[in-house]
């Protein structure tokens, strides 16, 4: 291939123009200037290429060289991804720190995956077998619980001419030689894949299993399915990040990809320091052993923010192809949209709404469409999923802005965070009246079969109670609670119980932070029983004030904090005491 070498003619922030770039393709990666900064071609006009640079352009001069790599922006996929932390263009941050110190310098080059580390490879495919893209060649134990399946890259196929014996190999060792139409091709444990192109699948299935998150308001009220998409919009301070951290910690996905896109540095540090210490409830292993982190903090170059989202989803798809359930959290998609806006502005494109480019909606849609439950490619039948949860940071907390609106048109679950709830420290501050989940009917079968037959009924009853409460609150605002009939006051108390002790859940309490699905069910059942019993009691003239000072009332309120091992016994006792206490009150009244 002839070399394409041009020179810089204009620099404006992260966007530069270079001429003499004839022969370049859109989205090819280029190296810019004497410092070899990494950039990507985003517009071509005759021989002038417009390039977004993924690094700081300070001090760059017109006239400096621009060299095209003639390859699109790609990621390296192979053993060693897990527990690593990368920047937006998949440079490993720990390695960068070793090379350039505590601050990120420019022009650093580093392999995404460690070339020196040896992995124990167990061959599975046999010599002479015919394989196609997606077929498993062998396995590597990547972390204590994750088996990394080494697959034939999607674009390859052929007959296995040779395969190495079980043993320790570096990832760039040739492990398999394929013969296809008499041409041989050697494969290593590394695949490369262009980030902007979705990895192929056989077909997409409908999501049917819930992604259990251990968060009551999510699992019970607004569930997300494995392979589903969800958005968490909320103004600042409403708890988006804590919520995403909670999902990353406790979701029952096998692999978690956490993309910090244009957010705070300390938040990534938090994940880095916490995840090795926390245990995955499913395996008991440190959470970091199933997590890949992508960090492009707000002060890191803006163009790489755009790349970080694609890097993350490509890695997610790769693990999906092995047959895993993968969950990807992106915090925050608004920062990604703003990066698009900034670059679009520098390109002097005609702006759409609020200065965002007209292609905002299609980019968002393309991204979320990469989620899904799929049959993977390859000759064996294998199912995997990518669930995507994206935070949205609407300016002023106003959901009518373009990023929130365009996201809501695509995603199936909407967790609306509410500043009012956050102000009164109701966390997670998911507004139960505004939020919705379109997976409810899909996942309710699972809940009914696995946890409790009446799950959907309980859930709907609780929801109706909350709905009714909000209507009554309007009246209370006018006349005060004392003016309401006893039955309505009982209803208010029941709703309050659910609101304060079921919907609210402390992310920082060591037990309450994760609520297993069976415990969620039992808690809800007991609270609804409480509701029924007090309604019955007030109809028998028991005063509501006597009911809310019951001893068991407090016990119900503290159910979330009962250790997950002994809750069944404890709840049983509580139920018994509750019935007895109310019976006693009724009896006293009748006397």
């Amino acid at each position: 291939m002839p070399k394409i070498k041009g020179k810089i003619v204009r620099i404006s922030g992260p966007v530069i123009e270079a001429d003499n770039m004839h022969g370049s393709k859109m989205y090819d990666v280029v190296r810019v200037g004497t410092e070899n900064l990494i950039g990507e071609i985003i517009r071509l006009n005759k021989d002038v290429a417009t390039i977004q640079v993924y690094e700081d352009t300070n001090g760059l001069k017109p006239g400096e060289p621009v060299l095209s790599t003639q390859e699109p922006l790609s990621v390296e996929l192979g053993p060693g991804l897990i527990a690593n932390i990368y920047d937006g263009i998949q440079r490993p941050l720990p390695t960068i720190r070793k090379e350039t110190g505590d601050f990120i310098a420019r022009g650093v080059e580093s392999d995404a995956l460690d070339r020196k580390k040896k992995w124990h490879f167990k061959p599975i495919a046999k010599k002479g077998a015919t394989v196609i893209g997606g077929d498993i060649l062998g396995e590597v134990q990547e972390t204590s619980h994750i088996i990394h399946r080494i697959m034939v890259p999607p674009q390859h196929q052929g007959t296995i001419e040779s395969i190495v014996k079980e043993g320790d190999y570096t990832i760039d060792t040739e492990i398999v030689v394929l013969n296809h139409n008499d041409k041989t091709h050697a494969l290593t444990m590394i695949q490369r894949w262009p980030v902007r192109k979705p990895r192929p699948v056989k077909n997409k299935n409908d999501p049917s299993q819930p992604l259990i998150t251990g968060q009551r308001v999510v699992d019970t009220f607004f569930p997300v399915a494995k392979g589903g998409t969800a958005a968490i919009p909320g103004g600042f301070g409403t708890g988006k990040t804590v919520m995403l951290h909670q999902l990353a910690k406790w979701s029952d996905a096998q692999i978690v990809i956490y993309v910090g896109c244009g957010e705070r540095g300390n938040e990534m540090t938090d994940v880095l320091q916490e995840f090795p210490k926390l245990e995955d409830p499913a395996t008991g292993e440190p959470l970091i052993n199933r997590t890949v982190l992508i960090a492009n903090t707000s002060n890191m170059p803006v163009a790489a923010r755009d790349a970080s989202v694609y890097t993350g989803i490509t890695i997610a798809e790769y693990y999906r192809d092995m047959g895993y359930d993968v969950a990807l959290m992106a915090d925050s998609t608004s920062r990604w949209a703003e990066a698009m806006r900034e670059i679009s502005g520098r390109l002097e494109e005609m702006p759409g709404e609020e200065g965002y480019p007209a292609y905002l909606a299609s980019r968002l849609a393309e991204f979320y469409e990469r989620a899904g439950r799929v049959n993977t490619i390859g000759s064996q039948k294998r199912e995997g999923s990518v669930s995507v949860m994206g935070a949205v940071s609407p300016p002023g907390g106003d959901f009518s802005e373009p990023v929130a609106q365009n996201t809501l048109r695509i995603v199936k679950v909407f967790w609306a965070l509410d500043a009012d709830l956050a102000d009164r420290r109701h966390f997670p501050s998911i507004n139960w009246l505004k939020s919705y989940s379109l997976y409810l009917s899909e996942v309710s079968k699972w809940w009914g079969d696995t946890i409790g037959k009446d799950w959907l009924k309980l859930r709907n009853n609780a929801m109706a109670l909350l709905q009714k409460e909000s209507e009554l609150q309007e009246i209370v605002k006018l006349v005060g609670p004392d003016a309401l009939p006893a039955r309505e006051r009982a209803l208010l108390e029941s709703a309050k119980m659910i609101r304060e002790n079921y919907l609210q859940q402390s992310a920082f309490h060591e037990i309450d932070t994760y609520c297993p699905e069976k415990k969620q069910y039992e808690m809800l059942r007991l609270m609804l029983k409480f509701s029924q019993l007090i309604e019955d009691a007030v109809s028998k003239q028991v005063h509501i004030d006597d009911l809310i000072i019951m001893k068991t009332y407090e016990g119900l309120a503290r159910m979330g904090k009962v250790p997950n091992e002994d809750y069944p016994k404890h709840f049983k006792q509580l139920e018994h005491d509750l019935e007895k206490e109310i019976q006693a009150l009724i009896k006293e009244r009748v006397k």
Partner: protein, 464 residues
């Protein structure tokens, strides 16, 4: 001949804060430009956009008096740098880094690019050291920790400067004696306001450990773009090279954002919300994210940016984007100020994101988290009841609700209110909190662990 020695007289245009020079070569993006006016006056500028033979330059001291005939420009071959030295402590500098006091210029130990470089997230240490500010609403409810960036959202005419001065005066980490410095960066504030700080620092002897960067209201606007970057470059040197604990006060970020908008408008950029540039989030982040701690280094940078919310509107782009980057916010409220409550901190919209890890047993006290949550919840409830009382009257309330109402009033009077020179220890703050919580029925204290209720509740405690 290197570019450094060439005086280009090819200025072809001047527009707002921008100047366009033609017929040049080899000019770098963000390079510093020395501009000489017809009368010999020298000004400084920076390349905003570089072409092969043309550059667009922003002029820091303003473009008044510039012409297209006699004005000349010299490109100095490097980006904006600040000479740093330990001797900067105790000194005052202007918007271009020259000393404003009468003492001689400092001899720099090193010259650093004022834009800095992003801290590698892997190199960061999570901030968790409690800073006692002596202010109950901050220590008790929105705890500040070392390495945090916690802004004060204020409004015109509210006592945010007094509050900031009080924090600078009282802030300390318990049980530690360490090298401590304040970097004070004033952008577009009035002489009077600047004097308040200078006097306060003088009175308490803090001036000796303060570095001041001043750009007052009558100084050139565009300098405000580089001033905080210089202040933070200095702070980084003090913190991460000299191991000092540095508190950076940036005031007023609203003036900074206005300067940013002015340049964007002059460049005819596509505006984002309310005319502010679309990259304002990124730009603000490049300042705020320079706070923090680094692994294996003793020093830290804690930032307290202050901003006045235009028309007290918290959804205005300046507070809004700031809130998205900083780790919480302290919000001042006009209503409280009118009620003569100092500091007029509106507790409900305040937040400190790093609080949870900075408090508790061994840091402040075990009951701190629960007490804080309970105070929030109870005050929110009491506050709601005030609206109800306005409609139905207090008599219509239940006994329980009346307690909450009483609590909300007492909370504002005794917990929020304190003297400008009152330095409360965290234990004093928690003691007041428990006294207030004892107004409520003990069964209502659901957010506090039962053990702590038994241990600290003044009424239950005295019974046993």
């Amino acid at each position: 001949m290197s570019n450094k020695d060439i005086e280009y007289t090819t200025v072809i245009g001047v527009e707002g804060p921008l100047m366009i020079v033609d017929g040049i070569k080899d000019v770098a993006y963000n390079e510093v430009v020395k501009i000489r006016l017809a009368d010999g006056e020298e000004r400084t500028g920076q390349v905003l956009e570089a072409f092969e033979h043309k550059a667009i330059i922003q002029v820091f001291e303003g473009t008044r008096g510039l012409d297209t005939k006699l004005t000349s420009a010299r490109f100095i071959g490097e980006t904006m740098k600040l000479g740093v030295s330990k001797d900067m402590v105790g000194r005052i500098f202007d918007g271009t880094g020259n000393p404003l006091d009468d003492a001689p210029p400092i001899i720099p130990e090193e010259r650093r690019d004022i834009n800095g470089e992003p801290i590698n997230p892997c190199a960061r240490e999570y901030p968790r050291e409690f800073i006692q500010t002596g202010i109950s609403t901050i220590d008790g409810l929105n705890t500040l920790v070392r390495g945090q960036k916690l802004p004060i959202f204020s409004g015109a005419g509210l006592p945010h400067n007094e509050l900031a001065a009080q924090i600078a005066r009282q802030a300390k980490v318990l049980g530690k004696q360490e090298a401590f410095a304040v970097v004070f960066c004033a952008m577009g504030i009035t002489n009077e306001e600047a004097n308040l700080f200078i006097k306060d620092f003088e009175n308490t002897g803090a001036l000796e450990r303060t570095v001041m960067f001043l750009n007052l209201a009558d100084d050139p606007t565009i300098e405000r773009i580089i001033l905080p970057r210089m202040a933070l470059t200095c702070a980084e040197y003090l913190a991460f090279d000299l191991n000092m604990q540095v508190l950076v006060i940036l005031t007023d970020m609203t003036n900074y954002a206005e300067a940013l908008r002015e340049i964007a408008a002059a460049r005819e950029e596509v505006p984002g919300r309310r005319g502010y540039p679309g990259y304002m989030y990124t730009d603000l982040a490049s300042l705020y994210e320079r706070a923090g701690r680094i692994k294996d280094k003793k020093g830290s940078i804690t930032q307290i940016p202050m901003l006045t919310m235009p028309d007290d509107d918290i959804t205005h782009p300046i507070p809004d984007l700031t809130g998205y980057i900083t780790e919480g916010q302290i919000v001042l409220e006009r209503g409280l100020n009118k009620k003569n409550i100092y500091p007029p901190i509106a507790v409900l919209p305040c937040l400190s994101r790093l609080m949870d890890r900075g408090i508790g047993e061994g840091r402040t006290r075990g009951d701190h988290a629960g007490v804080s949550n309970q105070l929030y919840a109870a005050y929110a409830e009491g506050n709601d009841l005030r609206d109800l009382v306005a409609i139905v009257g207090e008599d219509a309330l239940s006994e329980r609700d009346r307690k909450f109402l009483e609590f909300a009033d007492a909370f504002e009077q005794r917990f929020v209110t304190q003297d400008n020179h009152e330095d409360r220890s965290i234990i004093q703050t928690l003691t007041i909190a428990w006294e207030l919580l004892s107004i409520l029925p003990p069964a209502e204290l659901k957010k506090i662990d039962e053990n702590y209720i038994r241990m600290y509740h003044p009424k239950l405690n005295s019974e046993t």
